[in-house]
């Protein structure tokens, strides 16, 4: 695959995944377009060595995770404050339990903000596994391939990650209840 139009088709096909994963894993929409651009340019540079689409998607997942890692490193260096309260948020309102009235929407937003914070507190690999499994609906096998981990390790990370999220959300709720 060398043509510009073919590459454009590849970008169009996978841009949704790349943008969503970047948003979820970095916890921010800031610079997401630049990061996605970086992902696809890295993909383009490595494109000569693919033999099939499956290999390419695996490579794309890996690049995306690497770009996220680089972004976290950059943030750590800058010691900048990461905001999880994104002004553009709103997708959480589509979740079950979020009703029409303002109080419910606010509560849904607070819970989602809590979830985003809890996600950010997980280990990198737990966060990656959870996002790939839930959001992108990747199989255990595919996640294991992308992360170069044994299948059981992927299962363990998913289980532990979910458990930690639940605990943190409960703690958050308890804190809210006691402060209220």
């Amino acid at each position: 695959m060398h043509g510009e139009s073919q590459f454009e088709d590849v970008v169009r096909e996978h841009q949704g995944f790349v943008f969503r994963t970047l948003v979820r894993l970095t916890g921010s929409r800031e610079h997401v377009e630049d990061l996605a651009q970086e992902v696809f340019l890295r993909l383009y540079r490595g494109m000569g060595s693919f033999r099939g689409d499956a290999k390419m998607t695996t490579y794309l997942y890996r690049i995306t995770l690497n770009v996220v890692q680089d972004e976290w490193k950059r943030r750590k260096k800058e010691q900048s404050h990461t905001s999880f309260d994104d002004p553009d948020e709103g997708w959480e309102e589509r979740l079950p339990g979020a009703g029409g009235d303002a109080e419910q929407i606010l509560s849904g937003k607070q819970r989602m903000a809590g979830l985003e914070r809890a996600l950010a507190e997980l280990s990198e690999v737990e966060r990656q596994v959870i996002v790939m499994f839930h959001q992108e609906e990747l199989t255990y096998e595919k996640i294991a391939e992308v992360l170069s981990l044994p299948l059981n390790t992927v299962r363990t990370h998913l289980h532990r990650g979910r458990k930690k999220l639940k605990e943190r959300l409960r703690e958050g709720r308890a804190a809210c209840t006691t402060t209220a």
Binding site: E8, V11, R111, Q135, L165, K166
Partner: protein, 137 residues
């Protein structure tokens, strides 16, 4: 799980279907750890499954494709030294030497001397070649 006249299954079913809990169901939910846990689990799954909406510029793909260089950069290939030629050459030499030693008489002839020198050189060569690899382990 406890049953205070309200069935856990019914409460959890109502929660799954997004129905509002009323009266006893609501009281039961506040007191039942299992129901709260099931609710939390379902909420977490739904929240994690939801895909964040992202606004991708319409011309994003075209812009990225235009930014890509005309040809993918060729990766600088790391050439790994191929030892198979050396190994086969050494094997052939060894076989020849064994044959020569087996057929030559144990005398102090110049042929024996040359053969001994060859074996010595071969061993020295092997030591030089394999030595650094073993040391690195």
């Amino acid at each position: 799980m406890h049953d205070d006249g309200v069935n856990c299954r019914a409460v959890q079913q109502a929660l799954r279907e997004g129905r509002e809990l009323i009266g006893e169901q609501s009281v039961h939910f506040d007191e039942c750890e299992a129901c709260r846990d099931a609710y939390m689990d379902a909420w977490l799954t739904a929240a994690l499954d939801a895909k964040p909406e992202v606004a991708i510029p319409a011309d994003f793909a075209a812009r990225v494709a235009a930014m890509a260089p005309a040809r993918p950069e060729k990766r600088a290939r790391v050439r790994t030294p191929r030892y198979w030629g050396v190994i086969s050459a050494m094997a052939i030499v060894t076989v020849i030497l064994i044959v020569c030693f087996a057929s030559s008489k144990p005398a102090n002839s110049w042929v024996s001397l040359v053969l001994v020198m060859l074996v010595t050189a071969e061993i020295a060569g092997l030591a030089l070649w394999l030595g650094p690899t073993w040391i690195r382990r």
